[in-house]
């Protein structure tokens, strides 16, 4: 080897890599909220103090005043109470609101996640095809997704569920149809730039097949926008699921579901019985906020690279 170490050192000299990232409090908050939501989806119904679909003997019982909570909590943990307190009160049917609020993520998150995973998968694949091959078929696909996106989201979902029936699977399907065009569009835009990158050309010049170029080089480098979008979309999917239940196009009562709870509680707000609606409302807000914040933080990290 005729090359001295000095030349190799010059050639390999690297620009100093970015120093450690500063901790991002918003990111941490997003992660925490999402983690709690996921945990509740996994074990919520099991740890709920009451059966979320079984009526208790108390109707419209208000939650205990905040000042009593520490004492009640201590008593509950010590097992001194004959039965657990109704932290968030009970609703008009006698259901324990707290139990229903923590049992609901299993339904809400499952619908949102399933819809999101499905539409992400389908959308990314179609986006890859649409970005890779620009012909009349993919042009048609893009126009079709334009049409899908031009309908008001909520009305479309309502009509879809009304036509197909109020089964959970149909709600997932409706959300999928709404979100897939977003992923197609995002992925296609990224694929359009990535497929012209030098390393894709290089792979082709090396004798790589078009399919391999698309799957090995273009796809992994085109995923980021869709993945970042998905955390925002999950949040909105939760909101939409709740919204559908609220207008009676979602899951059937007495399934513990936030939108349904707000809906059934709404009639009583005028009587001053705010708790059956407000607590699930707070739960939805927090969860959507958590996913949105997480998405923003991910996007910032991605852009910073």
């Amino acid at each position: 080897m005729s090359l001295g170490g000095a030349e190799a050192a010059v050639a390999a000299r690297s620009t100093p890599s970015r120093t450690r990232r500063r901790p991002d409090p918003l990111f941490a908050l997003g992660v925490a909220i999402v983690a709690v939501a996921v945990l509740l989806a996994l074990i919520g119904p099991e740890i709920a103090p009451y059966d979320p679909t079984q009526a208790t003997l108390f109707y419209n019982e208000p939650p205990p005043p905040l000042a009593e909570w520490p004492g009640l909590l201590r008593a509950t943990l010590a097992g001194e109470l004959p039965q657990p307190p109704h932290w968030f009160g009970t609703d008009a049917s006698g259901f324990d609101v707290f139990s229903r609020v923590i049992a609901a993520p299993r339904i809400d998150l499952a619908i949102a996640l399933a819809a999101n995973v499905l539409s992400l998968g389908v959308g990314v694949l179609l986006g890859l095809v649409a970005g890779y091959y620009t012909n009349w078929a993919t042009a048609l696909l893009m126009r079709a997704s334009d049409v899908m996106q031009s309908f008001p989201v909520f009305i479309s979902a309502m009509i879809l569920v009304a036509l197909a029936g109020r089964a959970t699977g149909n709600i997932v399907l409706a959300l999928c149809l709404l979100y897939t065009p977003i992923y197609i569009r995002l992925t296609r835009a990224e694929v359009l730039t990535q497929r012209k990158r030098g390393f894709v050309e290089a792979a082709r010049a090396m004798g790589s097949t078009e399919l391999r170029c698309a799957l090995v080089h273009v796809l992994p480098n085109s995923l980021a926008p869709a993945l970042i979008q998905s955390s925002v979309t999950i949040g909105f999917a939760i909101l939409l699921t709740a919204g559908l239940s609220f207008v009676g196009a979602g899951v059937r009562p007495p399934t513990p579901e936030w939108g349904l709870m707000i809906s059934t509680g709404a009639n009583q707000i005028i009587l001053g019985e705010w708790w059956p609606s407000v607590f699930p409302g707070i739960a939805i807000s927090l969860t959507v906020f958590g996913f949105a914040v997480l998405g923003n933080a991910l996007e910032r990290r991605y852009d910073g690279n």
């Binding site: 050639a11 100093p16 890599s17 990158r197 030098g198 792979a203 010049a205 004798g207 790589s208």
Partner: protein, 600 residues
């Protein structure tokens, strides 16, 4: 020039970005009637220095220490309002990207007039007249019409000249030009720099040119300052600098130039008689969307590359040289013509046969950052062809990747790294290692040095020569940098608007170019050698015509100093000359124009 008071003097100037000092006590003076070149590697802080001399720092950078003396006053201590009055009036800057620096919404003439009116007394009419005069002075033809043009209506060269006109409008005493010609083609570059030098000389002012280009320094500067590690390591008259550079960095920068101007052309002992690549009548036209017109990128190119030989392909941007390289490897399908590799027809190959052919012909792209997958490790990048074409085990691939890295002068320790954080020189070597992995016989090198720092360019060219000697590779070397072409190539083809206009040995084309375009291209090339400065130029008039509506006859006819009416009538043929070279010019073929002596 010594003894003259400096126009501007920086003493101990320090600038830092959070956590990283860029300039560490810069000392630099520019005197009246002097053009100073500021050289340095990429990211050496040249642009930071240019801004700091005007008392500016790009956020989040800050000027930490030192002084900039102008008229005996320290600019850095002046109140902002006084500093603003000095900027533009006495100190002007021309930045790198001319189009981004012009306001797209305002006519060029108004922008120039605005600078003048901001600093001088005068009516609007006077300012407008002044703007036209400035445009004329920087060599823009038809300045009255150009003054009412918007930025997007100007070509890159014209936009750069308009920017220089704007900078000179208020008659500054010092003009700072940050890489004023880095995006321009050589013939345009020479015109712009000639105009700049003349304007400075006529007004009796001074200029500081920030550049990485030795040719610019050698031909236009009186003095050169070399910036390295945040300080000026060498500051001397240009002739002294090129004759005997003192600092190790300067010597490294000048190494290739010194070798190239000597007798050390590429050794011919690797060249064989065996034809490896043969191209016949190759044409490529790109349709324009929404129109039935086409861009004729390549039009009937014929060339051969022999085993062990380097064929250089030179020409300005838009001449079609990159398209030739890409069509050779079938990265583009040709519109017409054929490419044969070892006698096999590449243009007709499909599917598996094409993939098998591609194992033997490889390409290295211009931008090393773009040509490696950012998510992959160096090992996976280099071993990609092995994964495609061989059945080697993972361990065997790893061993071979390490071997390849050593072959291109990199440490095998890099195998586990990812591209992020590696320098452009190292990445380009990785791209070469990858190209070599499947043991090709032919490499297309598409401007592999254009984004590299001067020192990295030298190393890369030497590497390519060594690899050719060791492996018997044939190269098609596409470049607009004539210095590297001269050093690396055996034969050269000159392209203009999709046609090869001259093809001959490096010595023939570089020393006595025959075609009028080759002559002006070579003449416009700024030889990095102050001794050859001031040699006569035959500049081409105007700019390159659009490749959409090509002239029917000779494509150079509208710009050629030797053109006759007959030239524009019929397309010219590539004609063999008695000395063996090929020239596409009827007047040269008939002996009416003789080859022109370019360099001693």
């Amino acid at each position: 020039m010594t003894g003259t008071e400096p126009v501007l003097e920086a003493r101990g100037l320090s600038v830092s970005y959070p956590g990283a000092p860029v300039l560490r006590g810069l000392n630099l003076a520019v005197r009246r009637r002097e053009i100073v070149g500021l050289m340095g590697d990429a990211a050496s802080g040249k642009s930071t220095a240019a801004l700091a001399l005007m008392g500016l720092a790009r956020a989040p950078g800050t000027i930490d220490a030192g002084e900039v003396l102008f008229d005996g006053r320290n600019l850095l201590a002046l109140p902002e309002a006084e500093l603003r009055a000095i900027r533009g009036r006495d100190l002007a800057i021309v930045v790198q990207n001319p189009r981004a620096a012009l306001n797209p919404m305002t006519r060029v003439g108004r922008q120039i007039a605005a600078v003048w009116r901001a600093h001088r007394e005068g009516t609007g009419g006077e300012a407008a007249a002044r703007a036209v005069e400035m445009l004329r002075r920087v060599g823009i033809n038809d300045p009255e019409r150009r003054a009412s043009a918007f930025a997007h209506e100007l070509s890159g060269g014209m936009a750069q000249r308009a920017l220089i006109a704007m900078a000179l409008a208020a008659e500054p005493r010092l003009l700072i030009a940050d890489e004023p010609t880095s995006g321009l083609d050589v013939t345009i570059q020479a015109q712009v720099l000639d105009d700049l030098a003349r304007s400075v000389a006529e007004a009796g002012t001074a200029a500081l040119i920030v550049t990485q280009d030795l040719g610019v320094v050698a031909n236009y500067c009186d003095r050169v300052a070399v910036l390295h590690d945040g300080v000026i390591v060498e500051d001397r008259p240009v002739a002294d600098f090129f004759r005997a550079p003192e600092h190790p960095y300067s010597r490294e920068v000048l190494r290739l130039q010194r070798a190239a101007t000597g007798a050390r052309l590429a050794p011919a002992d690797t060249v064989t008689e065996e034809t490896l690549v043969e191209v016949r009548g190759l044409s490529k036209a790109f349709p324009i969307r929404g129109s039935d017109k086409v861009v004729q990128a390549v039009d009937g190119a014929d060339l051969i590359v022999r085993r062990g030989e380097t064929l250089g392909l030179v020409g300005e941007s838009g001449s079609g040289k990159t398209t030739v390289g890409r069509t050779l490897l079938r990265l583009e399908a040709p519109t017409a013509g054929e490419v044969r590799f070892r006698g096999e027809d590449v243009t007709a190959a499909r599917g598996g046969a094409l993939r098998a052919l591609r194992r033997s012909m490889q390409i290295v792209f211009q931008d090393p950052y773009d040509s490696v997958n950012p998510r992959w490790t160096v090992e996976r990048i280099v071993a990609e062809p092995l994964a495609l074409h061989t059945r080697l085990s993972a361990a065997a691939r790893r061993a071979r990747a390490a071997e390849l890295l050593e072959m291109v002068g990199l440490s095998p320790d890099l195998l586990g790294r990812r591209p992020r954080g590696l320098g452009s020189g190292a990445l380009q070597r990785i791209a070469i290692a990858r190209a070599l992995a499947a043991e090709p016989e032919f490499l297309v090198l598409d401007e592999p040095t254009s984004v590299l720092a001067p020192t990295a360019v030298n190393g890369l060219i030497e590497l390519l020569r060594r690899l050719q000697a060791e492996l018997g590779l044939a190269y098609l070397f596409i470049s607009h940098d004539l210095t590297t072409v001269k050093f690396l190539c055996h034969r050269v083809a000159v392209m203009y608007l999709g046609e090869i206009v001259e093809l001959g040995s490096v010595r023939q084309v570089f020393e006595r170019p025959a075609h009028p375009y080759a002559q002006s291209l070579l003449a416009a090339h700024l030889e990095p050698d102050p001794v050859q400065r001031g040699r006569p130029r035959t500049p081409l008039e105007g700019e390159i015509p659009s490749p959409v509506d090509l002239p029917t006859g000779c494509r150079l006819a509208s710009r050629c100093p030797h053109a006759e009416p007959a030239c524009a009538a019929a397309r010219q043929a590539l004609t063999p000359m008695p000395d063996g070279r090929l020239v596409r010019c009827r007047r040269v073929a008939e002996g009416e124009i003789s080859a022109e002596e370019v360099a001693a």
